[in-house]
Amino acid sequence: MTVAGRTSEAAPEGASEGASEAASGTAGTGRVVPRAGLLVGGVVLLVAVAVVSIGVGARPVSPTEVVRALLDYRGTDDHVIVRDVRAPRALLAIAVGAALAVAGALIQTLARNPLAEPGILGVTAGAGFAITLGSGLGFAAGQAGQLGCAIAGSVLAALLVAAVGRRSPLRLVLTGVALTAVLSGVALGMRLMLPDTFDVYRFWSVGSLAAREQAPLALPLAAIAVALLGALLLSRALNALALGETVAHTLGAGVGRVRAVALVLITVLSGAATAVAGPILFVGLIVPHLVRRPAAGSVPWLILHSMVLGPILLLVADMGSRVLLPTGEVPVAVVTAFLGGPMLIWAVRRYGAGSL
């Protein structure tokens, strides 16, 4: 869900502190230690959840076999399941979770709107439109075809929104909403006329991490890794932008350049994540809310914490998706929404909905 919201120049709570940190290059030790402690704790939890997720699935595999499969691969059925099915899936959950969470943190900072999420740039609608069009034209057969269509659609949509709405956060939000409406409407019309296309789309449209182990994932995962690094490098400059354009100009930040780079990063992160897993919208919305408090107004810490909590959330949701039904799976996007809704309400009630 996207809502055009506050775009005033007033500095939100906590942002001035982050900005002063950015300006001075220092931070209060008392704040940094809990943040760093939380981050380290989060990383430990992430590793633990990832290991557990490799042990959970339709076929019971003992913890000993899981360890053996990772350290002493023999090619047995259990080892194949661990190494070739579950481990790639866990890696994908980590990458997609981090990508969506960081993209969410970036777009909320950039749009200065706490309800913004990566889909605001039309990425999801663009990917869905491309899948529909590609399927209708016969390009989206198979995982590789769908991956290519989704990447092309999400990038083109985001570029269009960024080109039209780059001048102000409000314009960006409105352009994204408008393009999403147009693409969704046209794609829906096509799907109603083409039952086979509808058939392809309905499975893609519910985000899932299942069965991606055979898809060509190297390029999207590499793109996510590079974009995550880019987000960290850009985060200090975003601290100033979070205060509003006037203040950012005063602090000497190159507003246009920072915004353009941020838009590119959001596009790459959410586009790649959507391409490989389909739409999983809640992660990009909920995670920045959950880590806002520990980040205490600092964009770099917000991004770092998002980078850790996003994967944890997605790994937990993915484990749930595997065990909730006696046979088959619940798509992870459904589980994420189921978990994310109450968490978002809790976070907003507990900490408020202020943006950075």
Binding site: G57, A58, R59, G75, T76, D77, V80, I81, D84, V85, A141, G142, Q143, P195, D196, F198, D199, R202, F203, W204, S208, A210, A211, Q214, R322, P326, T327, G328, E329, P331
Partner: protein
């Protein structure tokens, strides 16, 4: 048309069956012959129909049956999924006949049906899907009998019933006899090989995007014609449901070794052109597939035309099975 493309429709049918517990109708028709009519037992009740219909409209699964049986058709629904399995003559008839409905039951064109002036309408869709059709409106045009699919192997009884309703049993029985003779000949040909082999089947209606595969057991789409030749498919679904869910299931790919590990040989569905559909390819590209004893032994057999639901189309399935199983005779 690929098998994959029709998976959605089959899924809808299976889901609809599962939701309503639709079963097969009583296949025994009650002929009274009074005033040129008879009472016919169908999914929608006991219907008074003409004893010798002259103008028949057929939809859904009834379309290929009626064409094959030379029923006096004046209108049909679109039935693209059956086109690859029709003979040249039947395909020409199919293309020539006026289309009074689309692929989906809800795409029925009532005015076109009325314009065809039928004296009998045979609807070949599952009973739950009848809700998408304004049956009362159709009944105002002509008597309506609904004879829809149930367990995949039941196409034999259902097609007989559909042809019976249309008064076209003569040609139907002729094709049926040819099929049975051919199946018996092949059963004899493979009698020293097939009954001793424990077989499993991977179907093409699974959804690879979900990380699952379709495991078909006896009496399912991919297995029922092979069973007529003597193939023995082992195992059964973990939790039986109505319709096709009674004979096939969709386990996680992780369960492939457990599901097919005991099979001596594995058959799998392929498209009419021999290409491997995406859901089957997903399974075959997995290392778990390559670890299966039957795969290691090289005993895997593709089967084309697994969607056959008429005796004529099933003859093609028999040919495909014979072609695929031929290497077994050399071993």
């Amino acid at each position: 048309m690929s098998l994959r493309r029709s998976s959605g429709l089959v899924g809808v049918v299976a889901l609809a069956l599962a939701l309503t517990g639709c079963g097969s109708s009583d296949s025994k028709s009650d002929s009274s012959g009074k005033g040129g009519t008879r009472v016919f037992a169908a999914d929608n009740g006991k219907i008074k129909i003409p004893a010798d219909p002259k103008r028949v409209v057929a939809t859904g699964y009834a379309v290929p049956v009626m064409i094959e049986a030379d029923a006096p058709l004046v209108g049909i629904s679109s039935w693209k999924r059956g086109e690859p399995m029709m003979s040249k003559k039947d395909l020409a008839t199919y293309k020539k006949l006026p289309k009074v409905a689309g692929e989906q039951a809800r795409e029925t064109n009532y005015e076109a049906v009325a314009e065809a002036k039928p004296d009998l309408i045979v609807i070949g869709v599952p009973a739950p899907v009848l809700g998408d059709i304004d049956v009362k409106r159709l009944e105002s045009i002509a008597p309506v009998v609904a004879i829809g699919p149930t367990v995949p192997s039941a196409w034999r009884e259902l097609s007989h019933k559909q042809a019976d309703a249309a008064g076209a049993l003569k040609q139907f029985d002729s094709v049926k006899a040819k099929y049975e003779a051919k199946a018996a000949k092949l059963a004899k040909k493979y009698k020293n090989v097939l009954p001793q082999i424990k077989m499993g089947h991977v179907g093409a209606y699974g959804e690879s995007a979900k990380g699952t595969f379709q495991r078909e057991f006896g009496r399912s789409w991919g297995t029922n014609v092979a069973e007529d030749v003597g193939a023995k498919y082992y195992g059964e679904v973990k939790k039986k449901g109505p319709g096709s869910r009674a004979v096939s299931e969709y386990p996680s790919l992780e369960e492939l070794p457990e599901s097919l590990g005991k099979a001596d040989a594995i058959t799998y569905s392929v498209n009419p052109d021999g290409s491997v559909p995406e859901p089957v390819k997903y399974v075959m590209d997995s290392k778990l597939w390559k670890n299966l004893p039957a795969v290691k032994a090289g005993k895997t057999f593709p089967i084309r035309y697994t969607e056959a639901a008429t005796y004529g189309s099933a003859m093609q399935t028999l040919d495909a099975i014979d072609e695929s199983f031929a290497p077994l005779l050399k071993r």
